[in-house]
Every structure is written in C-alpha cells, then in structure tokens.
Symmetry: C2
Subunit: 153 residues, 2 copies
DNA sequence: CTAAATTGGTTGCCATTGCAACTATTAGCT
DNA sequence: AGCTAATAGTTGCAATGGCAACCAATTTAG
C-alpha cells in the first residue's frame, strides 16, 4: 500500500482551471483558424472589429473596457487595422486625448461577412446540447465568472 | 426603424467562444498569481510538475500529450525546471532519443505544497455551485470539449 | 490661476508563444 | 546490410503579450 493519500496528488485532467483552459483553447483556435484563413485577421483584431460593429464611434479606452484587451495591445492592434484601412479614427472634439474609432466601409463589409460565420460556428458548437443544456451551461458560466471575479483581491 | 436585422450584429459579450476565453483567463490568472507569488512558477511549469507528480519517469513527449503543451515550449520549460533543480532528467536506456523526467526532491516538496493550495482554490471556485450544478457543469464541459474536438478537420 | 493628479493613448523592452527547420536516434523496408 | 521514414527533442525566428515608463491633454485642489 502506498503511503500517499489521494489528496496529495493532483489529477490535472480533472482540475477545473485546466479543463476550462483546454476547452477555451480548443474552441478559440477553431474560430481563429476561420478568421485567419479567410480574412487574415487575428482573434484580437476581430474582437475590436466586433465591438465597433456593435458600438460605432467609441474610444480605444471604451474598446478596451468592453473587450478586456490590454491598452498597449489594443493600441498596436488599432494601428494595424488602421494601416489595413479596416477602421478609421478621429480625435474627439471635446477631448483631444480621446480617439473616436469606427469601421471603415471595407471594415464593415468584412464584419458583415464574419458575423454570420461566427454565429454559424457557435450554432455548430452548441449542437451537442439540448436547448435546456444550452441555457444551463450559459447560466453556469455567468455564475462562475461572477464568483471568480469576487475572489479577486 | 433600423435597416439592420439582429443577425447582422454580433453581441461579443454573449458569444460563447469569447465568454469561455474570458472565464478561463480569469480563473487561470487567479491560480497563476498564487503559483507565481509563492513559488515563482508559471502555469506551464506547474502543469509539467503536476503530471510528473502523478506520473513519474515519463518522457517529454508523454508530458506534451498529457498537458497539450507544444513541444518547443515544453523543451524550454523543462530546461528552466532543470536549471532550478525542480526536476531531473535521464535518457532512456533503450532509446537514446527519449528522456525520462521526474520531480527532484525539492520539486516533490514544492509539488506537495502546491497541490492542497490548488484543491483549495478549486473548492473556493466551485462554492458558487450546488453539488448538482457542479456535476452538471462538469458534464457539460466534457460534452462540449468532445464535440468541439469532432468539429476539427 | 497654477501645480499636481488623472486620464487616454503610445512606445520600449523583455518574456512567451508557436511554427518550421534542424540534429540525433530508431524503426521499417527491400 | 543499407536506405528511407518516423520519432524525440532542441533551436531560430517572427509575432504576440504585457508591464512599466512615457507624453500630452484634461481635471482637480489649493
């Protein structure tokens, strides 16, 4: 008999943070491939375009708040998207620090192509759940996220 | 009335891949802080140590299979752990390509300290669920992961 | 009104990531 | 045996991430 009791070993493959990370990577890398292959766009860039599709004419800071993208990464991604003319930027009249960003015409057309693909992918993903399970899973994610946030210092 | 129908806008904050990514990042960054603050160890390094705690004397390739860590990243992490004497490595007798890796005495003692912390964190996380919800969530994760894997080419 | 603090955004720098090319060893074929 | 393919692991390199320092504009406090 081993001197170990069960608690002294960690079953990594059943450890929740690990499982979430693996699941998220799998799910995200599949979307990333779609965006990258068809539009040469990264997940980060897509997220920026996604919020701009929903909320036009917002500042970098507001994008950062909505997407959780760190501001230096955001700044560099915005530069790239500007160079590729997928977005446009002005400075706010009333506050010359604040930028005002929106999708360009090209950007909007790319956005309009990606949105249905994204929904289709999500639908395909959720096919493995019943409607009820979908609702459960969604609620549990929100619940856990809420709780995890409260654990932070 | 807008000319847009609802499908032409993507609500990023309700998009499953995005939500999973945000949740996973939150959960992982909390653990990462614990490991980093107390043991100056990264998540990647911890995962390597975790499988070695469970399966001593396995090869880098087997670690890679169990943790999903890409082999170049694994190689560099193993070098670091060797330098810090948290793990030990020999080459297999029967196959001089294959390494045989295990936790060192120091590594084992670090492992023995981290394991209960990890379980405690997981327990704290899951506090927001009833036993039933825990089981549901766990099952749904497995189900979705399985399904997502099948979507891959 | 002015000095200090705050805010929005950019940049420098270093660590991490991940693909691809490479070395060394072993396995498979004929 | 001898040649080719596959496998284990390392390394080069370019892209990405993220902290911290920084600049400029604005707000706040005295």
């Amino acid at each position: 008999m081993s001197s170990e009791n069960n608690d002294s070993i960690l079953k990594l493959e059943r450890f929740l943070p690990y499982r979430l990370s693996i699941l998220s990577n799998k799910v995200s890398s599949l979307v990333a491939d779609i965006y990258k292959d068809k539009f040469a766009i990264s997940i980060t860039e897509w997220r920026i375009m996604a919020v701009l599709g929903e909320y036009p004419d917002i500042s970098a800071d507001e994008i950062s708040a909505k997407t959780q993208i760190e501001k230096s990464i955001l700044s560099r991604s915005v530069s790239k998207l500007l160079k590729r003319k997928l977005i446009e930027r002005d400075m706010a009249e009333d506050d010359k620090r604040r930028s005002v960003i929106r999708l360009s015409t090209t950007g909007k057309s790319v956005y309009d192509e990606i949105v249905p693909l994204s929904y289709e992918y999500e639908r395909a993903l959720l096919k493995c759940f019943t409607k009820e399970e979908q609702a459960q899973f969604s609620a549990l994610i929100d619940q856990l996220y809420e709780h995890a946030s409260s654990l932070q210092i």
